[in-house]
């Protein structure tokens, strides 16, 4: 369902949290690995409080995270989108897994309309508050994995950043397939994840491997290979499929929906 911005008054404000408190709350909010597929439950739990949600989606919270830091992170993502798939002032854009609208908030100033979709309604309530006063933004809570809430052939760009590491492979492909459906012919798609063969990727992998066997959380980051992402996009029907090595240590796959495909 679409979340109206006037629902934001239901979100209760809390005093700012310091990093240590946020980290503690985050640990408490994590779900068991066996629940990884229950994405709505897992991410709603992590989005009860804005600081915990920030920690979950941006890796920082409390005094280490403010709007300036978020903007800086978002700028990097937007620059990457601009250099890989391009962004135009008339673009209608959809972000899959938008979280607290870290990227969407600044990006909405550079396109015609920005749609943010997320499976966690609680994440979207934080996003709604951050997007107040931006009429060219719409937030949509996804009922389940997929983009069934959206019509086909609608968007110029569909992107999904810092999300795939939290999904199972089958669900990653589901979103690629769905992105193909909702893109207009000629529209572009972008998906990223961390690979094992970069310094950053290996560091994430080693940290995840450090969890005790019985205490692995549901959101534990899992890598992608270049071949995996390339295969998803090719199988979904994209053309001009490319895999990019990003300065951040992530890899990104991009593709274009063929112009003749309705």
């Amino acid at each position: 369902m679409a979340l109206d911005r006037h629902d934001t008054h239901l979100v209760r404000s809390r005093p700012a949290m310091n990093t240590a408190d946020a980290m503690g709350r985050w640990q408490e909010s994590t779900s068991d690995l066996a629940e990884r597929s229950a994405y709505k439950k897992v991410w709603d739990r992590q989005a009860k409080e804005l600081d915990v949600a920030m920690l979950a989606v941006a890796g920082r919270a409390g005094e280490a995270m403010d709007e300036d830091t978020l903007s800086l992170q978002a700028k990097e993502s937007i620059d990457t989108l601009r250099s890989t798939v391009g962004i135009g002032p008339h673009d209608v854009i959809l972000e899959i897994g938008c979280g607290i609208a870290r990227v969407g908030k600044p990006l909405s100033g550079q396109c015609l309309h920005w749609f943010g979709a997320d499976i966690s309604g609680r994440m979207l309530s934080h996003a709604a508050r951050r997007l107040e006063g931006r009429p060219n933004t719409t937030l949509v809570e996804l009922a389940t994995v997929g983009l069934q809430e959206f019509p086909g052939d609608a968007f110029d760009l569909v992107y999904c950043t810092i999300v795939f590491m939290h999904l199972f492979e089958w669900d990653r492909y589901r979103y690629v397939e769905e992105a193909f459906r909702v893109l207009r012919p000629g529209g572009h798609a972008y998906f990223d994840n961390f690979p094992l063969d970069t310094q950053h990727g290996w560091q994430v992998f080693k940290e995840s491997a450090g969890y005790p066997l019985g205490r692995r959380p549901a959101h534990l980051s899992m890598s992608s290979t270049r071949e995996e992402l390339r295969t998803y996009l090719a199988k979904a029907g994209f053309e001009d499929v490319r895999v990019h090595d990003l300065p951040s240590g992530l890899i990104a796959a991009t593709g274009q929906k063929p112009a003749g495909v309705p």
Partner: protein
């Protein structure tokens, strides 16, 4: 020659501007299409909710005669029990032993201790709030037999003096269940006009319904200062059918 190139340059610029405008209109159309698709999805969801509520109401209507029969049976049993107790009391107060002990009971009353203040304070805290004057409507009626383990009251409320409703709760025999306020009720606003302090007068509050008879008081917090009862009613809760 240069005049020609200037003209063609102007033409190119004009065509580019036209193309840009067309792209913008086409993108706007697609954006509106997505919005309308989302709206339609929401309307379908709302319609389904209405159908479910109608089916639930029909089910409750079917249960009502059975509930009434059960209540009449309980009432008859309570009447019989009251009559038996009256007879028993009359027998006791009419006895010689009761009359002889009357002076001793009177003396005992003089020396009896007052109840502990803490106990009184605690009871006072949990006692139903005093009534206020409200215009309200309950989407889910409390005037029923409660068969489940919990129930959610939904509705809207407007204090007649225009003060802000800052909270809502149910006081069920002294147990407090806090709900949430500020839910949209566009039809109410359309009918009663804009409400400066209560632009979204809807509320909902969930509470447990343990078997037995309880006093239910639905209460609103006004301006964040005082609680006032909207409606008070006794309710019957029976174990859920297996």
């Amino acid at each position: 020659m240069s005049r020609d190139s200037e003209d063609s340059g102007d033409q190119v610029a004009a065509l580019e501007a036209e193309l840009d405008g067309m792209r913008r209109r086409e993108a706007s159309f697609r954006s509106r299409m997505v919005q309308e698709f989302l709206d339609r999805g929401e309307r379908n969801t709302y319609l389904r909710t209405l159908h479910e509520e109608r089916a639930a109401l029909a089910g409750r209507a079917e249960e009502a005669p059975g509930d009434m029969k059960l209540l009449v049976g309980k009432l008859d049993a309570e009447r019989e029990r009251a009559a038996a107790l009256q007879t028993q009391i009359a027998g006791i107060t009419g006895s010689w032993a009761w009359r002889i002990g009357a002076p001793i009971r009177a003396l005992g009353g003089l020396f009896a201790r007052a109840p502990a203040p803490a106990t009184i304070a605690r009871l006072m805290e949990q006692a139903p709030a005093e009534g206020g004057i409200f215009t309200y409507y309950l989407h889910t009626s409390p005037f029923r037999i409660f068969r489940g383990a919990a129930f959610t009251l939904r509705g809207w409320v407007l204090p007649q003096d225009g003060s802000a409703v800052t909270g809502v709760r149910v006081n069920l025999g002294g147990r407090l269940f806090v709900g949430r306020v500020g839910l949209d009720e566009p039809e109410v606003i359309a009918r009663h006009g804009p409400q400066a302090k209560n632009p979204s007068p809807g509320f909902e509050v969930a509470f447990e319904t343990p078997p037995g008879r309880h006093m239910l008081s639905l209460e609103a917090n006004l301006e964040g200062t005082e609680w006032r009862s909207i409606v008070t009613t006794p309710i019957w809760c029976v174990p859920a059918p297996r």
